[in-house]
């Protein structure tokens, strides 16, 4: 057993033998790169000049007043391409170039990671193929067009459930065949080691900035830090620099879909059992025969049956708490944030907002929380419109 590939009992490298040497190469190149000042300088250069960091830590004045505690929003929605995904893509694509790879592949569900990868590939002149489930291609036509405009090839995956989990399977299969010249850019904090570690490293910029910004605003650490969890990339980035700060409460918000009790949800931590999928051992939604169960969430970005292994560890060790928010609660929070602060969040991020409003009720006006606003809602306008039409919400 490769001890360093594990977070407690979670993580590991559950891949075909033909990928084991590839993972070793990626791991060695990654460890070397993050100790190389030139690599880090490049990474931070692109984060600043291209992505537009640092992102603000915005004090949500009206919401704070209404809910009786200080609510700060880490504005990852203001990044180039509209979400936190680009932070990690810049890191991994610079690593791919450093390793002499000429092609990149990626999986995508809602299309945000696909768009970010296609963007990075255009910027660094690399050939890019994105695997996307047939269902998602139909649901996210606009993002498919963006990727194609950026020069990426979008491959429709027609196997299993035709969604993100199957797109990830297909990306892994392709990678096993082509690893000699191809780098697989995983967008979530999942996959075989060292991917969960890489994604955390390249998303940790979120919490480094937020910590500093909160000190500047309040002269101390926040009481609560919160983020939504699908695979867990924005949340692990939001938690990273606070994990060792014991006084800071960490909360991950999963999607409860139509309600945990209905079985149609995406809460791997609430109801999953430890299992193996996509190269890692972690909590996983599965049926009574051990087949992977389909996740459900109104948010395509949270619609994933597993969760990153470090989150599974943070949960079991008690360092972080994981809760779940239903589709309806998330959509209510989305509208509230839109109408009270003039910010249309991604539906993913609205899950974190919804729990923030609940949590605020047990906090005092002097306390403060930081919520990661992982992405903007432009991509979700069609879904929002369908939802509102169905519910007659605006009336």
């Amino acid at each position: 057993m490769n001890e360093k590939a594990y977070y407690g009992e979670f993580g590991g490298q559950y891949v075909s033998e033909s990928l084991m040497n590839t993972l070793k190469e990626v791991d060695e190149a990654f460890e070397e790169a993050i100790c190389d000042p030139k690599f880090l300088e490049q990474y931070h250069y692109y984060l600043k000049q291209y992505v537009g960091r640092e992102t603000p830590l915005y004090f949500a004045e009206r919401l704070s007043k209404k809910y009786g505690t200080k609510i700060y929003l880490k504005r990852e929605d203001l990044n180039h391409t509209g979400a936190h995904k680009i932070n990690n893509v810049i890191g991994q694509i610079l690593l791919a170039k450093r390793m002499g790879k000429t092609k990149v592949i990626a999986e995508t569900g809602a299309g945000q990671h696909g768009v970010a990868t296609a963007t990075g590939a255009a910027l660094f002149n690399m050939e890019c193929t994105v695997y996307m489930g047939k269902e998602d291609i139909q649901r996210q036509a606009l993002n498919v067009m963006r990727m194609e405009m950026l020069g990426a090839k979008v491959v429709s995956v027609e196997s299993g459930s035709n969604t993100l989990k199957d797109a990830t399977n297909e990306a892994i299969r392709t990678w096993a065949k082509t690893a000699e010249d191809t780098f697989y850019i995983i967008g979530s904090a999942v996959g075989p080691y060292p991917y969960p570690k890489m994604v955390k490293e390249f998303q940790a910029v979120i919490s480094r900035e937020a910590k500093k910004q909160h000190y500047e605003a309040e002269g101390r650490l926040p009481d609560v830090v919160m983020a939504c969890v699908g695979g867990g990339s924005n949340s692990i980035g939001m938690f990273a620099d606070f994990i060792d700060e014991e006084g800071v409460e960490l909360i991950g918000v999963e999607a409860a879909g139509k309600g945990i009790e209905t079985g149609e949800h995406a809460s791997a931590m609430a109801l999953g059992n430890p299992g193996v999928l996509h190269g890692m051992r972690s909590y996983l939604l599965q049926d009574e025969d051990g087949n992977v169960q389909l996740a459900h969430s109104i948010s395509a970005g949270l619609d994933y049956p597993g969760v990153g292994p470090e989150h599974a560890y943070l949960r079991d060790s008690g360092r972080a708490k994981y809760v779940a928010i239903t589709d309806t609660e998330a959509m209510d929070a989305l509208m509230e944030l839109t109408q009270m602060e003039g910010i249309i969040p991604a539906i993913e991020s609205a899950h974190a907002m919804a729990y923030a409003f609940k949590k605020a009720k047990e906090m005092t006006p002097e306390q403060s929380m930081v919520v990661c606003l992982s992405g903007r809602g432009d991509k979700d306008v069609n879904t929002i419109s369908d939802y509102l039409a169905g519910k007659g919400y605006l009336n």
Binding site: M1, N2, A5, G12, Q13, Y14, V15, S16, E17, S18, M20, N21, T22, S159, G160, K165, D166, N169, I172, R173, T174, A176, K177, T178, A179, E180, N273, P274, G275, V276, L277, H278, G279, R281, L284, Q286, D289, G290, N291, V292
Partner: protein, 266 residues
């Protein structure tokens, strides 16, 4: 305690100076009684080892043919528990051909590693192939199998395993499964460019027989490696053939007889 069926078969083949012929079929495609009939017919036709694929929702090491076969088998109700029952029935009917379960690790974990190993030993699963369980992750499984002769763990190597080969082969039992090409099962006979030198390297390093699999359809496909390998494994092509012949056991038997004969006449 009798010897492991796979190891006994390997020794018998060595004495006869024959190559092994091994097939893969997804269990429960189209249903478990068809699977049982096919296995019985193949045993009579002289197949050496049979891999039963345990269907899983997310078979990341498989190409389109086995993916579809898995999907169909699950839709038709195949589960690990039912497959255990089917195998028990086969053994009760006197079927003695070595049987390997080829499966993904989540299915084992879900059943419980200890309980799974115990059940395998009881019902007569002779070997396990778990493609998403590379050497570094095998400890738990091997501990549960406890180096018992009834169920052994079969090791896989790939054309890019290189310096990993000695580590993998140490303690390996039965035979070593050499994947002929990078990636997944069932990609025509487009073997990795350095397949001959790779197979020679593995053969040199191995105390146990070396089998080649992935992308083989007819015995002639392995003619260039006939002096290196100890046998051939056919999966995706066998499934296609079964579908074309409406899962007729006689078609399976005919294919096995022909392949086995031609393999030993190369």
């Amino acid at each position: 305690m009798s010897k492991n069926r796979i190891e006994a078969r390997m020794e018998a083949l060595k004495e006869k100076n024959e190559k092994a012929f091994i097939t893969y079929i997804t269990a429960g495609l189209p249903n478990l009684s068809a699977t049982k009939e096919i296995i019985k017919a193949q045993e009579k036709a002289g197949v050496d080892v049979i891999e039963m694929g345990i269907p899983f929702s997310d078979p990341i090491a498989d190409g389109p043919v086995i993916q579809q076969a898995s999907f169909d088998a699950i839709q038709n109700g195949a589960t690990l528990k039912k497959i255990f029952v089917a195998l028990e029935e086969l053994r009760a009917d006197g079927v003695d051909v070595p049987i390997i379960f080829m499966m993904y690790y989540n299915t084992v974990l879900h059943y419980g590693v200890e309980a799974f190993a115990k059940k395998c030993k009881e019902v007569g699963v002779d070997g396990l192939i778990i493609p998403d369980l590379p050497f570094e992750e095998q400890e738990e499984m091997k501990k549960a199998l406890d180096n018992d002769d009834r169920t052994i763990f079969i090791q896989l190597v790939s054309p890019v395993s290189k310096d990993r080969v000695p580590m993998i082969l140490e303690g390996a039992r039965g035979f070593v499964y050499c994947v002929s090409s990078m990636g997944v099962t069932g990609q025509a006979a487009a073997f990795h460019k350095e397949v001959v030198s790779y197979l020679s390297y593995v053969k040199e390093a191995s105390r146990i027989p070396v089998m080649m699999g992935f992308g083989i359809r007819i015995a002639a496909d392995v003619a260039p490696m006939k002096d290196i390998i100890d046998g051939a494994i056919v999966g995706s092509h066998f499934i296609n053939l079964m579908r074309e012949n409406n899962f007729n056991p006689e078609a399976a038997a005919e294919y096995c007889r022909t392949f086995k004969k031609e393999l030993n006449e190369l």
